[in-house]
Symmetry: C2
Subunit: 169 residues, 2 copies
């Protein structure tokens, strides 16, 4: 990890209020909003940062348009595959993505994510709001180690953005 990378490694802020069926993640990235949006909507880039690094991610489907399906399969050292999928409701460059999310390991439980990208000069504030079908679903996601996984993903995204700014991606 470079020194330059470390200056942008501020961890995300999580708002997880007791008894609510939502959670909110806020994190700033040291990159223009257009680049962050691209990293969220270009499957070749998305698959490089989304999920913990101990898993290999493959894109099965990734159509970043309203009605477009997405499906990512992650596999670890044990070879077990974990599938995640959903559908895009709105994709508004470079500021907003609204999509559903379902983990195939817990079928039938769906969340609605609203991702907002706000330009702060040459930096970007990401706010990801997840709304769940129940408080139990929200709490289950939190208990599964969601924050650790998200922190690692966002660290990887931050590093990828450095490479994108340098023109290496």
């Amino acid at each position: 990890m470079t020194t330059k990378g470390e200056t942008t490694m501020a961890k995300a802020e999580y708002v997880i209020e007791p008894g609510k069926q939502e959670l909110t993640i806020t994190r700033d990235f040291d990159a223009p909003r257009e680049l962050v949006f691209k990293a969220f909507t270009d499957p070749k880039l998305f698959v490089q940062w989304w999920g913990p690094s101990r898993y290999t991610s493959k894109v099965d489907k990734f159509d970043a348009r309203p009605g477009g399906l997405w499906r990512i399969v992650q596999s670890g050292a044990d070879g077990v595959e974990h599938g995640f999928f959903g559908v895009h409701h709105a994709v508004v460059a470079p500021e907003r993505i609204v999509a559903t999310f379902e983990y195939e390991g817990v079928p039938g439980h769906v969340l609605l994510q609203t991702l907002t990208l706000e330009a702060l000069g040459n930096k970007t504030r990401m706010v990801a709001q997840d709304v769940f079908q129940s408080v139990a679903d929200r709490d289950g996601m939190v208990a599964s180690g969601m924050a650790e996984g998200a922190d690692e993903s966002y660290d990887r995204l931050s590093q990828l953005l450095e490479e994108m700014k340098a023109g290496r991606r």
Copy 2:
């Protein structure tokens, strides 16, 4: 309204708890689950019951598959058009539909609806759960007269189901 129709006109039960960002509507229909599912997924049938009768509804898009878009335009006597749209996340015959919903008059506010159809002999229990991005969104929907509109829609659906059972639709 026929006498037979009236026996199935029990109004829906609404669960709208203070401070929650969800609401649940439960209503029983005097028709087999397959017919109710068809009335929810066949655009020609859907448009005959969805929305208040004082509006004329037109189907712009209606693709009842995962990733399929739907859009309905309603117009009243004043000629003003109201558009509603979303995307299907899951469509599992004859028991479950998960889809997003957005009213174009309040753009950017999205809800996730999970519709469950449970067979009760030859009757069907419908449970529709709407999850909103905020409590304010939920309360706004309720204040807009959602329950009155839904009750009228479900009354119309109940009548349509009678016609479907009689083979007239």
